[in-house]
């Protein structure tokens, strides 16, 4: 005899978030009268310990065996309540969560009655579903104790090292031939003034030396299959083309020069090259995009190098996306960029100063620089309707977080090195928020840096100065620090403090099925509850792939990502939700429509059984290979197959409850 249904129904106030709009007490009263409901309660905050305890107590003391909760979005706390229900000894899948906040109280604020009726219908539907709930067990699978980290910049390196130090194996994939990412292009880092590459190399050395980390350079992810615990990843690695010991010889033999991206195109490098002196790996590599089978003369012989890409398949339990950022590239003519030689970006200036470290004077294009202006918020804090949209129709309305401090750090360095230089900072708000950052602002002011405050609605105008002028460039700007005085600032150099944008990783985003935010950076599940996880279980974010961050913050985020990977894989197994197809063998007559409809290999097949001496065919599901799409469900002529936890009968019951008139619902009492 089946157990008697005893449904407990809980309507959460959500500390007012729900109860300000929805009359929770009325909802609870009506729910109390629904069939099989033994208790219907409200709570100020059901997710609190006291709220959870109440549910546990009802399960233990009232014998509640189905639980329906109306609260915030299930994405936030479904798991919280599953755990609570489990603690009380009930199967966690005998609980159903109804979203009354994001999909009701928050979106019907001006229609309280409508919101209350809607809550009643949704809760009644939840109860209707609960009547059809069956206990389910998660699918437990062995997990690969290996993680893939994509991107070997500061964040990727840190994540790889932390994961390996905690006992898992790591595959680290880097697209370029050299490790280090954007951090390698920096010189001194704020707020400590340490040398960026020294810090980076300490990290790289630990990564390279770690026995559990395999590093692939010139490698890209080409395919991802599977799920958390068991991802299959196909990596394509290009040939390095040059043996380390032959590096000097091959570089010398290489005649072709191309723009050097390490110096943002301001210099040229060979097609066979090292990114910078001391880079890792130490040996040179061939840039196959430019090499194009040009013959080289080496040791008196003519040779042609061949790229022989290797395909490497790895199995990993989790994937860390540490794909980083690109500096915003101003469009042609934006603040004169690309039109005036005297307009450059801050990353370019950092590289140029590094290249001319020993110069006693500050020169640009052979002319001494006496006056320099740094313009903040280029490609950041853009305003819809004011700033020109980018290719995708959007403006970058976010703050890039690091440019203020980076720019003031530069100003202080310039001032120390060239005390006679006049420096102008054109800004909207100075955002020197971190430890030691404000000191740069103070030093800059003390050092005589002139601050000019512009408004985002009226950005500074940069143009060539009239011929015969003392300076090549003239900036016009309204300064709100001097009561909106229109200033004309003649300068020798304009430096654009450009923001950050995510790398172009469309292919990877598609392969991983992760979401991007409106800012196009990769999106976390929830900034506070699950700040480094994506909605795809087992895909974790590290560093600036997620949004602008400085080095310290990237490293922190990377370590946090490592902690998440360890939580997922450290136990050597993962549990997947049980929402896969299940066949009712009594109803199945072996027609096989389900097998035809299924596109997942090995998910469902017909097997022969002996039934009272007769051979019969029945469909059998292999849960690990089933994704629960339900294509088999729709085609079954006998309704013999369902996705567990999401059955058609459950949906029909829910639809019936929603379709009921509110009068019937209330009067069903």
């Amino acid at each position: 005899m089946p157990e008697k249904l005893k449904i407990g129904v809980y309507t959460c106030y959500c500390s007012g978030n729900i109860s300000h709009t929805v009359k929770c007490e009325q909802v609870a009263k009506v729910m109390e009268t629904q069939p099989d409901v033994v208790v219907s309660r409200t709570d100020m905050s059901l997710c609190s310990d006291a709220g959870q305890s109440q549910i546990e107590q009802d399960i233990k003391e009232l014998g509640v065996n189905r639980v329906v909760i109306g609260a915030c979005a299930p994405s936030l706390h479904e798991q919280t309540f599953r755990n609570a229900v489990t603690r009380a000894g009930l199967n966690p899948y005998l609980y159903h969560h109804v979203g009354l906040r994001e999909q009701d109280s928050w979106v019907h604020t001006s229609d309280g009655d409508g919101a209350t009726c809607k809550a009643m219908h949704l809760m009644a539907a939840g109860i209707a579903k609960a009547r059809h709930l069956q206990p389910l067990e998660p699918i437990r699978l062995e997990a690969e104790k290996q993680a893939l980290v994509i991107g070997a910049g500061a964040a990727g390196l840190r994540a790889a090292l932390d994961i390996a130090r905690q006992g898992l194996r790591v595959v680290l994939v880097e697209k370029s031939p050299f490790l280090g990412g954007r951090m390698a292009q920096l010189e001194s880092v704020f707020p400590t003034g340490e040398d960026a590459r020294s810090l980076l190399h300490e990290l790289i050395e630990k990564v390279v030396a770690h026995p559990s980390i395999t590093v692939y350079t010139q490698a890209e992810v080409k395919g991802v299959t599977g799920y958390v615990g068991n991802y299959g990843v196909r990596i394509l690695q290009h040939s390095r083309g040059v043996r380390e010991e032959d590096s000097e010889k091959m570089i010398a033999a290489c005649p072709r020069l191309v723009p050097d991206e390490f110096n943002y195109g301001m210099t040229e490098r060979k097609v066979i090259y090292r990114a910078y002196p001391g880079c890792c790996p130490r040996g040179a590599a061939v840039d196959w995009d430019y090499y194009l089978d040009h013959p080289l003369r080496v040791d008196g012989k003519e040779i042609v190098l061949k790229d022989e890409p290797k395909t490497i398949d790895v199995s990993v339990g989790a994937i860390v996306a540490a794909t980083g950022f690109d500096p915003y590239e101003p469009r042609q003519g934006e603040y004169g960029y690309g039109e005036l030689q005297e307009v450059i970006t801050l990353p370019q200036l950092i590289r140029r100063l590094a290249l001319t470290k020993d110069d006693k004077t500050f020169q640009w294009n052979g002319r001494p620089v006496r006056d320099v202006a740094l313009i903040h918020c280029v490609g950041s804090r853009e305003i819809e309707g004011v700033d020109e949209p980018h290719e995708d129709g959007q403006v970058n309305n976010y703050c890039s977080r690091v440019c203020c401090t980076a720019s003031l750090h530069m100003a202080v360095e310039l001032h120390e090195k060239f005390p006679a230089l006049n420096i102008f900072e054109l800004y909207q708000d100075i955002r020197t928020y971190g430890r030691g950052h404000e000191d740069y602002y103070c030093h800059a002011m003390e050092g005589g840096v002139r601050f000019v405050r512009y408004s985002g609605e009226e950005r500074p105008q940069v143009a060539a100065a009239p011929t015969g002028d003392t300076h090549p460039v003239l900036i016009k700007v309204k300064d709100s620090l001097t009561y909106n005085e229109e200033l004309e600032i003649p300068v020798d150099l304009v430096v654009l403090a450009v923001g950050m944008k995510p790398r172009q990783i469309d292919d990877l985003v598609n392969m991983l099925k992760v979401s991007r935010g409106t800012d196009r950076f990769l999106l976390e599940v929830h900034p506070k509850l699950r700040p480094v996880e994506t909605a795809v279980n087992g895909v974790i974010l590290a560093g600036t792939a997620q949004g602008p961050m400085n080095i310290q913050e990237s490293l922190s985020a990377a370590s946090a990502a490592a902690a998440k990977v360890l939580t997922l894989l450290g136990r050597g197994k993962v549990e997947l939700p049980p929402f896969v197809a299940a066949v009712d063998a009594e109803k199945c007559n072996g027609a096989g429509a389900c097998v035809e409809a299924c596109v997942y290999e090995g998910a469902i097949a017909l097997q022969t059984f002996d039934e009272n001496g007769n051979e019969v065919k029945r469909a059998v599901v292999t849960p690990a290979n089933c994704v629960g799409c339900g294509a088999c469900v729709a085609v079954c002529p006998n309704r013999a197959i369902d996705v567990q936890g999401w059955t058609i009968a459950q949906y029909e019951a829910m639809v019936d409850a929603i379709g009921m008139s509110i009068v019937d619902l209330v009067e069903a009492a």
Partner: protein, 153 residues
């Protein structure tokens, strides 16, 4: 109990994928933007699990409009884009047989942060139903077609 009973409104059922429309509806909630309350969102894994008869049955049980908010080609399921389109077309055929206005069923690709598209779909359907009214009237007037009988599941 003083129960406020507003006049009945046409009911919009929204079947929204967890990886798409359902999350999009949550995003809309997080933006605190109001839309009509006669909308009932049920989470689904993937629309392809529903046979066309499911929709007909829903109309018969008092649902006046249905929006399937799926993830389109961005779906985690290989079959979702193609399979759902096929399903909707089959359902349209059944609706026509029964004299149901096929505009009562809409398919829309809604992503996790698609606040504006979500609102547009909801508002459009609400407006449409204001115009064409409850499904009851169409069902009452329907010609009984032979294939309709026994098709309920």
């Amino acid at each position: 109990m003083a129960q406020p009973i507003p006049p009945p409104q046409p009911k919009i059922l929204i079947l929204a994928t967890l990886a798409g429309g359902y999350a999009g509806a949550d995003s809309t909630g997080q933006s605190h933007i109001d839309y009509p309350a006669n909308t009932y969102i049920l989470p689904i894994m993937c629309p392809v699990m529903f046979p066309p008869e499911f929709f007909i049955r829903a109309f018969e049980r008092g649902i006046d409009g249905i929006i399937v908010m799926y993830s389109g080609t961005d779906s985690p399921y290989k079959v979702e884009a193609e399979g759902t389109a096929k399903l909707i077309n089959q359902t349209y055929a059944l609706m026509k047989e029964r004299g149901l206005d096929i505009r009562r069923l809409r398919l829309a690709a809604i992503c996790t942060v698609c606040v504006k598209p979500f609102l547009k779909e909801v508002t459009q359907m609400a407006e449409l139903l204001k115009g064409i009214g409850f499904v009851k009237s169409e069902l009452a007037a329907r010609p009984v077609s032979p294939s309709a009988q026994g098709a309920t599941i």
